[in-house]
């Protein structure tokens, strides 16, 4: 198939300083959990994208000095020769595929708590970080300014040595250069504070010095938050950014522009719940009005038509992307080949970001189960090893794990029958995507549906059977498949069973008219009264989403929660706007409570910290604290029970129980994946499906085989020429 000519503009090369980007697809710096300590992961993840057509890839934010230490969060580092050596793995791998690679030189100031290095960070004025509130910085004097600018220059030189083509001075997300520029941070009264020119001085001097040092060999990039979204208390695009760009333009080879700050950087990495693709354009588009240099920006661009339009209309020159490149490293190649319907569209769930926010774990992606597995498991998103046997498969359930398992098995050449009692592929995704703001999560199902429909045509013995009555254990045994994969998902608890007490709540029964499970709410099969109480013990999106949906449908909603409501949404950057939404819709939240018992139209709640704070041993049968005596009845017309989930294990357990009948039915193995194994994130359910399909030839494919780890090797020092033995100073 051929490329659509309206996408041709995306493939025109463009010059940035001494370098040339071969097309307009640019992976902006973003975290993956690799840094400089997992060079294999770093090199594999980034170079894969270049193989997939991205003209340039960057590391995540790169610490230029131990004073910029974000532990527990994981940044890249270029502190020393050891880091240079490790990052050369990435530059070599990227160059092999003819791409450019860059580093985002980062100095965090107070926002980087230095929990590993124990340094004291410096800033334009002394303040406590609004992001990492325990950390204060020192106000920089002129010596400090010289020193820190020197850190940038030294890091730039190390970057050049390591083979990088692009070097950033990173002034977005409220990091140091922006801290000088923004009156929110900079209260100085000397030549580096006050007027815009003064506040811009630190940044421009740094750019000048870096350019002098490496500008002949590397493209100088700067990431600039053109508006910090707090009106005139911060940086405003029309008042400040236009002037700044004019002042700095000569020293910059390519501008990387976005909006927002660090405390709410979800305004930049906007989740699909709240922001559509291109959501930053109203601010970004100003920059090309004043700059003579190429401008790039992100906005969760997923649609090639939109990308082409953005460039044609002169809003940006280059399409920046982080999440769309995670969901599909081969996005540019697929556009180039006219295979737009094969693109795995980013669903904007921000689960990738959540791993960095939690601090430490490698990145995962709901849409792309191979993300993070490139090096340690050797998984390539577009390449699959050939089937290792002639085994045929019955996959029961076409939700995230079942559809992914069937897809990968079929890609490998296996004969697969995928069966679902629903009319459509996708399982629970079909109802979840109807929640307010979650429509784009449906792309997960769309991708698998399109691919499965294509794959099933390639093997006439494979089949997708939808809308069939649920299979029984007998049906499975008699089906004629060599191997059976159970992907029957999970359901919300009907009796109030929860993570706090590990028991049902007395009186909760969703078979009664006034108590409902989330599934019943989404099905719309049961009438819901005006006053709704959601009893929540789930840390993710279900309770807030149902609260929003029911309020928008005209109900009066209260949420009583035993755990921090939507806690995981802090990590997906959805929390601030979620709380704003709850507030704006007038949804009452009662926190830190649990339920002792429920009736048809009322529930008894108690404070979970209502028992005494002094502890003493009082003997068996007695709580070692004064027992809570405070109980309140809350009335409702309907109760939505969002207390926890349980795996739908009937089919799997039934088959396991009758294991002695497998041989006579020619069944070689039965496996369980996804929520049916244990309730988990959609990203992890999808991972289960892919992993089983790739590891199916193992003796025990149910359990993952070990993956390659990257750890410090005892006996090999980090610094070339250094020692590794234990040594104390004396």
């Amino acid at each position: 198939m051929a490329r659509d000519s309206k996408h041709d503009i995306l493939f025109e090369p463009i010059q940035i300083g001494p370098k040339v980007l071969r097309n307009r697809f640019y992976q902006v710096p973003h975290c993956i959990g690799a840094g400089s300590d997992k060079p294999g992961f770093q090199a594999a993840n980034r170079s894969l994208k270049v193989e997939g057509g991205w003209a340039a890839v960057n590391t995540e934010y790169l610490s230029i000095h131990p004073e910029s230490d974000d532990t527990h969060r994981l940044s890249a580092r270029l502190w020393d020769e050891g880091d240079v050596r490790n990052l050369r793995a990435m530059t070599d791998a990227v160059h092999k595929h003819d791409g450019l690679c860059g580093v985002e030189m980062w100095y965090g100031g107070s926002h980087a708590p230095c929990m590993e290095s124990r340094c004291t960070p410096r800033g334009p004025s002394q303040y406590a970080s609004e992001f990492e509130t325990m950390t204060y910085c020192k106000e920089m004097d002129l010596d400090d300014i010289q020193m820190v600018q020197g850190y940038y220059v030294d890091a730039a030189k190390r970057a050049r040595d390591a083979g990088f083509d692009i070097v950033y001075v990173y002034g977005a997300h409220s990091y140091l250069p922006l801290q000088f520029l923004s009156p929110y941070y900079n209260k100085r009264t000397d030549g580096y504070g006050g007027s815009l020119e003064n506040r811009a001085r630190f940044w421009i001097e740094t750019l000048e010095k870096v350019k002098q040092a490496v500008g002949d060999d590397c493209a100088i990039a700067t990431r600039f938050a053109v508006d910090t979204l707090i009106a005139d208390a911060g940086v405003e695009v029309e008042r400040d950014a236009l002037k700044f760009v004019k002042l700095a333009d000569d020293f910059v080879d390519v501008w990387d522009v976005n909006v927002g700050d660090i405390a709410e950087w979800g305004e930049d990495a906007g989740p699909s719940r709240f922001y559509l693709q291109g959501h930053q354009l109203p601010w970004q588009r100003f920059i090309k009005q004043v700059s003579k240099k190429p401008v790039l920006g992100v906005g969760r661009f997923t649609d090639p038509d939109k990308m082409a339009e953005v460039i044609r209309s002169g809003q940006l020159d280059i399409i920046g992307a982080a999440r769309p490149s995670i969901a599909d490293p081969f996005l540019p190649e697929k556009i180039n080949q006219g295979r737009v319907d094969d693109i795995r569209t980013c669903i904007g769930c921000n689960v990738c970001i959540s791993r960095w926010e939690i601090g430490g774990p490698p990145m995962i992606c709901t849409q792309n189960a191979t993300s993070g597995e490139e090096y340690r498991r050797g998984w390539h998103p577009e390449k699959f090893p050939k089937a290792g046997s002639d085994d045929s498969f019955l996959v029961v359930g076409s939700g995230p794990s079942g559809s992914e398992c069937a897809r990968v098995l079929m890609e490998r050449g296996y004969t697969v029958h995928l069966v679902d009692s629903g009319e459509k592929i996708g399982g629970s995704t079909n109802s979840i995507a109807t929640l307010p703001g979650l429509g784009e999560w449906g792309y997960h199902r769309d991708y698998r549906e399109v691919q499965l429909d294509k794959l099933v045509k390639k093997n006439k013995d494979s089949q997708i059977a939808l809308g069939v009555k649920p299979l029984t254990v007998d049906d499975c045994l008699e089906y004629g498949a060599d191997k059976i994969v159970i992907a029957t998902g999970a359901s919300w608890n009907t009796d109030g069973n929860n993570a706090l007490t590990h028991d049902p709540v007395e009186g909760i029964d969703t078979s009664t008219p006034t108590h409902l499970t989330p599934e019943q709410v989404l099905e719309g099969s049961k009438p819901i009264g005006k006053k709704v109480l959601i009893l929540n013990c789930d840390p993710y999106y279900m309770a807030p989403s149902l609260a929003q949906k029911l309020t928008e449908d005209g109900h009066q909603v209260t949420v009583a929660s035993g755990v921090s409501l939507g806690n995981y949404m802090h990590f997906t950057l959805e929390a601030p706007n979620m709380h704003r939404m709850m507030h704006e819709l007038g949804i009452e939240v009662i926190g830190d409570v649990w339920a002792s018992k429920a009736e048809a139209n009322r529930i008894q709640l108690y404070p979970i910290f209502g028992d005494g704070y002094r502890r003493e041993y009082r003997g068996p049968g007695k709580l070692p604290r004064r027992e809570n005596t405070h109980f309140d009845w809350h009335e409702f017309d309907s109760l939505v029970v969002c207390t926890g989930r349980h795996s739908n294990t009937e089919l799997y357990e039934g088959l396991k129980t009758r294991k002695d009948e497998w041989a006579e039915n020619d069944v070689k193995g039965v496996y369980v994946i996804g929520d049916a194994w244990a309730p988990k994130l959609m990203a992890d359910a999808t991972f289960d499906g892919q992993r089983l399909a790739r590891e199916i030839e193992l003796d025990d494919p149910q359990h993952p085989k070990p993956y390659r780890r990257e750890v410090a090797v005892w006996g090999a020092p980090h610094m070339p020429g250094d020692t590794f033995e234990i040594e104390y100073e004396s």
Binding site: T415, K460, D461, E478, G480, A481
Partner: protein, 265 residues
């Protein structure tokens, strides 16, 4: 009771296609193949009768097509039936409904069938005639576009519903033997299991030529057809004006068009 069920492998045109050199059909290299949707329903009907009456009923799928067409027989045999029949010969290329019907009629006689169940029409050419042409050649009682059927083995007469226009149905009795063309929605076709697919591969498929039934080349193919293709071509039609843009923009445009058509300001 023996039921013969002719099933057809139909061609679907992909986006890119080329016309054959003689201009009479699409080049077969550009066709994807699948079983004619209606035939799933007629075969399901046969399967149901077989399951209801057991040994009193034999059902046999038949296809007139080249090697690739065997897939549709396997598709049927994966769901039931014990054997299939495929008839092919190069002389059968470019047969119209009548020419194909000649073959089906001969097989029906050869098999001593009591009923022939076809689909109402096939999705590629939609002639809606093959089944009834068979009835004409055999001079059997017949009904087209059947939406409901009540057949018992050894019955002299069966009751069927014909699905007419405007949602009306007609209940009639039909003498047997009979040819019925079956309409969509008469039942819910089942899916095949892997066991069925495996077993199907072991079921015998007799492959024969029209000559084995005493038909001459002149009675089939283009010569035996009641119409001949002069030319096949992509019609020059005014292309639909594609409304592009974001969903919001597209919806806005639709609204504008509708309001204009309604005569609203």
């Amino acid at each position: 009771m023996k039921i013969l069920v002719p099933v057809k492998q139909v061609g679907i045109i992909d986006e890119d296609y080329e016309i054959r050199d003689d201009g009479k059909n699409v080049d077969v290299d550009f066709l994807d193949y699948e079983i004619n949707e209606w035939d799933n329903y007629s075969w399901e009907l046969a399967l149901n009768l077989q399951e209801t009456y057991g040994e009193a009923v034999e059902i046999v799928p038949l296809t007139v097509g080249p090697d690739e067409a065997e897939d549709v027989l396997l598709n049927c045999l994966a769901k039931g039936g014990e054997r299939g029949i495929r008839v092919w010969d190069d002389a059968l290329v470019d047969s119209d409904s009548m020419a194909i019907a000649q073959v089906i009629a001969k097989v029906a006689e050869h098999e001593n069938a009591d009923y022939v169940l076809t689909g109402t029409l096939s999705s590629d050419h939609s002639f809606a005639a093959t089944g009834m042409c068979v009835a004409g050649l055999l001079n059997w009682a017949h009904a087209a576009v059947v939406s409901k059927v009540d057949i018992t083995p050894d019955a002299q007469q069966i009751t069927v519903n014909r699905e007419l226009e405007a949602g009306i149905e007609e209940e009639i009795t039909v003498e047997s033997p009979a040819v019925l063309s079956i309409q969509l929605g008469i039942n819910e076709p089942r899916y095949a299991s892997l066991r069925g697919i495996k077993q199907a591969k072991a079921k015998p498929v007799e492959v024969m030529s029209h000559k084995d039934f005493g038909l001459t080349d002149a009675e089939v193919g283009e010569m035996g057809s009641l119409s001949k293709v002069r030319k096949m071509y992509a019609p020059e039609h005014s292309q639909a004006e594609l409304i592009e843009g974001t969903v919001a923009e597209q919806a806005k445009r639709i609204a504008e068009i509708v309001k204009e058509l309604k005569g609203d300001t």
